[in-house]
Symmetry: none
Subunit: 199 residues, 4 copies
DNA sequence: CATGAATGAGGTTTCATTCAT
DNA sequence: CATGAATGAAACCTCATTCAT
């Protein structure tokens, strides 16, 4: 009962894309594997040729995304020494991800709870790297005297959460493009760390 | 079969408290009415004397909370004219709610999706008031020349989301009390609107 | 959607009886919860008001039966000192159980494999008591010189398995009643332990 | 896509051996064709070059085994006239099979239920030959006055089931070798038919 | 008000099997 | 012969909800 011309990679792309769409629109628990299968052009049971469980599917989506972001972030920070430059690169990177891969970053921000306890912990540990990287930038900038922070931990959370939230309100059909958004968040972040705008 | 000493209001409080706890810990879809009943000292069927459906229960929680916050917010803004003062009051109010009623505000931020389409829309319309109030403050401050905004809509979203996120990371057992948090967020908000700190 | 006049104990009896029948006729894996529910006059989901899983249901059946048999066996052995008398009582008891509760003992003999590893181990430990009791009888009889055994362990296994197998071949509609069967097995067991028949 | 060096007979042997192992350890219903394929170094679909269905596979295993045993048994009985000698040969043969091909005889004893109704009947008819052969031996011995039986059918079932059960308790790593076991069962069978041991 | 008993709809997952390649 | 991709049927189980008592 094989469908002619079918191909593992192609099908997986369809499953993944369908999954992102459904997770974005309905959420993990509200979405079901029947919808997922139908959207991917499969029968429900066939999905299990692509993942071991619905939850593992979510996990893979989230971890793959996180891995991609971290690699990109580290590349973009590579070679930059000055805290200001590093902060800029950090903001620029996160804004882009939350705009360009809006659906996935939104899913990631909201569906971590749906992971198994163990996988949730593992994911959190991975995600902590964002915190640590930003924390280091803030610490260095404060030590250099170029940043004027209140409590670093609070500032960090505020910056990070305002970035993360982009995927929840940004409307690609709206008035702002990636450029505008990036420029604004660069400015906002600089202000939050007590830096006078360059301009 | 009336249990001696049972009392509508008392029981409802137990149901509500149990619901908040379960929603906070597990989320709406992952929580079930068996757990809710048990935590409230009832049998599942009895819950339906207190709500018409699980989803209606969530709705009531969210709407009641939102109503309370809006009333409080409007009271705290009442009489204040200056944009700076109004911004301060706005921040102060939201920080407090997100700390003191952390669990409920967290639920609200994450479980709106679990509402029926209709109720979701109604809830969103109500919640838009926060946006509007803050938007007005920013607009007035910019018109007065005391605020130096990039794009108001972006600044507003950034401020609001950093406030809303508090309930997701704040740890009551951690190093910061409500005072510290409030002071910091006041400062951060002022910076974000381009106001030089008073101090 | 409660059925009028329904009652937990009555329903459980129906479920249990239906389960025994299905397990006897089809075996655990070949039987399904739909059949079980239908035979018990319930919908499939309702079964889970009576057990936590299909496997737990089997487990309960097996353990309850074993407990009953052990209690009965110990009662029947109580007060008997002579190995011959104890052997007789042992055989008499087991023959009766394998005839009177033929279906259940048959299930027990064949479906232990369907239990979870853990429950299987626990069950086996419980079941070992039969072995131990018989082993003790044989040992004492041999020590007294009234039994003439080859290897006790082999004799024990042969006796026990010939008793256990009764439930697999005994036909209640056949020519032998419990009395005949008991008399024959008493004689066979005596012969197997090398005892000259009394008659 | 023919794998170099692949060979129908060799592969079949691997499939068969893997099947015996899995059936012995997990049972027919609990074993699945994925495991079977993997253990045989194939992909699931390829199995169907070796059998038409999982159940047919089991059937072939059981029937082939039974055929082998019957041939062997008839050979070993061939030429023997005396009931005692024939009984000895019968016991000797069955003990050996249940020790040497322990896994397969165990499977046969327990998985007949998993066969289709039709195949089950056919198998049973074949297996009845064991009964008949033993029944004949007992009848002749009783007629000759060398056996002292209670009810022949009961004795026959007891002897046969104690032999068949060997595969379920015999431990090749244990204290008894085939010789000991054979000697003991010869003695036990003689006792069961009321014959005084030669030795 | 509350419970006890059950429903019914739907969920995820398993698995023998098929068939184009 | 063998694999890769998928099917389809059915399995167990969960859960919000109902309603007689």
């Amino acid at each position: 009962m094989r469908v002619a011309g079918s191909n593992r990679d192609e099908t997986w792309k369809r499953v993944r894309a369908a999954g992102v769409d459904l997770l974005y629109r309905h959420g993990f628990e509200a979405m079901n594997t029947r919808q997922l299968a139908e959207a991917a052009g499969l029968k429900p049971g066939s999905l299990y040729y692509y993942f071991a469980s619905k939850e593992e599917f979510l996990h893979r989506l989230l971890v793959d995304l996180l891995d991609e972001i971290i690699v990109d972030l580290e590349q973009n920070l590579d070679g930059l020494q000055e805290p200001v430059d590093r902060l800029d690169a950090y903001v620029r990177t996160l804004v882009r991800w939350h705009v360009v891969r809006r659906e996935e970053t939104f899913i990631a921000s909201i569906e971590v709870r749906s992971l198994t306890h163990d996988r949730q912990e593992a994911y959190m540990r991975l995600r902590d790297r964002f915190d640590v990287i930003l924390a280091d930038i803030l610490r260095d900038g404060a030590a250099d005297g170029v940043f004027d922070l209140t409590h670093p931990r609070i500032t960090r959370n505020a910056i990070l959460s305002s970035l993360t939230a982009i995927s929840s309100w940004y409307d690609p059909a709206g008035p702002f493009g990636l450029d505008v958004l990036t420029a604004d968040f660069l400015e906002l972040a600089r202000r939050m760390v007590g830096l006078r705008s360059a301009g």
